[in-house]
């Protein structure tokens, strides 16, 4: 536990010290909110446009920071040998990955608060109607997508390729899941894919708690969907995560 808290602090220091990465992964969803919030004004699916957008961009922000940003960061740390060095300390692998996920939950919490404030102050969006359930949904989503972000690093071979691979996964996912617009008019095959994706389930829970003000009981199916994806990510992460760079095995 002491090591977990220590590593959580380390991860926080590292995230905020890297201003470039913090800027892009933290502020980008907020900038999108500013841009899109100025474009849409008609109600979408019967919901005030700014609130509808806010909900979508909260989901997008979770995927961008906890999944994409984390995956790229971890690949870079792995390929430069940083993770290998950490592995040589008494810090256990589970504690490290747990702290990484915990750190993402903290970052996401702050990011969502910032989005709520921007949405409220600039676009007159609503506050979440069921704040407690909404907070739970955000935390669950952040943890699940962080676990998937760790898992996806197993697919990436090099630091150079990491953003290409990660973007190719999370950007289409954000579109198909309906983070940016309503999915009601999507072709059937996309809708079928959409129904499986973790972000779709997460957006449904967030919408239900934020817009309709329903408790968690109203979306147990979607909560289970997010949790199953999270557990899947965790299993792959634990089994396939690599700590050392791919290197010439011929070296001395």
């Amino acid at each position: 536990m002491r090591l977990f808290l220590h590593e959580l602090r380390v991860q926080q220091v590292l995230f905020w010290r890297n201003r470039e990465a913090a800027f892009f992964s933290f502020l980008f969803p907020i900038i999108l909110l500013l841009v899109l919030g100025s474009v849409y004004s008609e109600p979408i699916e019967g919901v005030q446009a700014s609130t509808y957008l806010l909900v979508g961009l909260i989901g997008y922000g979770i995927a961008a920071t906890a999944f994409a940003g984390l995956a790229i960061t971890l690949v870079v740390r792995r390929e430069t040998g940083l993770l290998k060095r950490v592995r040589g300390t008494p810090l256990g692998p589970g504690t490290y990955l747990g702290a990484v996920i915990g750190s993402e939950v903290i970052v996401i919490a702050l990011q969502v608060v910032a989005q709520l404030l921007v949405g409220r102050l600039l676009f007159d969006a609503d506050w979440p109607r069921a704040p407690g359930s909404f907070a739970f949904a955000v935390a669950l989503g952040a943890a699940a997508l962080a676990a998937l972000g760790i898992a996806v690093t197993a697919l990436v071979r090099s630091a150079e390729g990491s953003s290409a691979v990660v973007n190719a996964i999370y950007l289409p996912m954000a579109f198909i899941s309906g983070a940016f617009f309503s999915t009601q008019e999507m072709p059937a095959f996309l809708e079928a894919i959409s129904e499986i994706l973790p972000l779709t389930h997460l957006l449904d829970v967030i919408r239900s708690t934020f817009v309709a003000g329903e408790g968690l009981g109203a979306s147990t199916g979607d909560i289970a969907g997010v949790a199953v994806w999270g557990l899947l990510g965790l299993v792959v992460a634990v089994r396939m995560f690599r700590w050392a760079p791919r290197e010439g095995i011929t070296s001395g």
């Binding site: 590292l14 940083l82 290998k84 060095r85 040589g88 008494p90 810090l91 001395g252």
Partner: protein, 282 residues
């Protein structure tokens, strides 16, 4: 007491066997140097001992434990300097040593360790502004901050200027005098000769020589005498340099000729090393 025991260690990458059953031991409190040309298997050996790589066969004990079976507490008792590995670029020297100190149950004072490796003046510098040699010293600081009993140093002074190398040697001697056991790999024979209590020379995954530097030298003729006669190079290996030189110079004086380019050279560890590893380079 032994810090490390290795018996019949084998490792293959695919079909290529890179360690053919090597055996050696590192005694508690000694500096042990693993020498060998590139590709001899030094890093593979060290990384198996550090727990980074799995072995195919053989018995390995590090501080009495099998490094192939993760026992987190053992990592609190060893310090590792990898051959190459980055550190968080955006932190300062002081910050990063403090963060790593937090991983260990009873760390040394970060400020003290930073002084020990000679980075005191760079304490507040961001890691990315450090020179290559300074980064290597930071590596050493991170390996020492947990106050380990056993320290692995994989080519710790590669890229150092002569002054920095001397300073690193001092640090390693200090560690030894504190009773730490040290396993060192190096390309520099002078480094091994000056630091190591015992060395093992690795060639193509086999140990071809082992013992103290003195013992290794003893197996080979002591002094090499070179000069030119009629433009041809003459080399004499001898364990009785005084007598041989006396004869040579006496004869030359009597004939009134000069022994051109006369050199007398005590055989070094490097000579023995080159001899033992020659086949590998051809």
């Amino acid at each position: 007491m032994t810090a490390i025991e290795v018996a019949g260690l084998r490792k293959s990458y695919g079909a290529r066997e890179v360690l053919h059953g090597i055996s050696f031991e590192v005694r508690t409190g000694e500096v042990f140097a693993l020498l060998g040309p590139n590709g001899a298997g030094k890093t593979t050996t060290v990384e198996i001992l550090e727990g980074y790589r799995a072995r195919d066969a053989g018995d390995v004990r590090v501080l009495g434990q099998d490094p192939g079976r993760p026992a987190p507490h053992i990592r609190a008792r060893i310090g590792i300097v990898l051959q190459s590995s980055a550190v968080y670029q955006l932190l300062s020297v002081q910050e990063i040593v403090e963060l790593f100190a937090g991983y260990y149950p009873s760390p040394r004072s970060p400020a003290e360790v930073i002084e020990l490796v000679g980075l005191g003046e760079r304490r507040d510098a961001r890691v990315r502004t450090l020179s290559g040699g300074q980064l290597r010293r930071l590596d050493l600081a991170l390996a020492l901050v947990g106050d380990p009993e056993l320290v692995f140093l994989d080519e710790p002074t590669t890229g150092f200027d002569p002054a920095a190398r001397r300073q690193a040697w001092e640090t390693i001697r200090d560690l030894r005098s504190l009773g730490k056991s040290i396993l060192l790999t190096t390309h520099y024979m002078e480094e091994a000769h000056r630091l190591a209590d015992r060395v093992a020379i690795l060639r193509r995954g086999e140990i071809v020589g082992t013992g103290s530097p003195r013992e290794l030298l003893a197996g080979h003729a002591g002094v090499e005498i070179r000069f030119r006669r009629n433009g041809r190079e003459v080399v004499i290996d001898t364990e009785e340099p005084t007598r041989v030189l006396n004869e040579l110079t006496g004869k030359a004086l009597a004939e009134g000729v000069e022994l051109e380019g006369l050199e007398v050279h005590r055989r070094t560890l490097e000579d023995v090393y080159l001899e033992l590893t020659r086949e590998a380079r051809e």
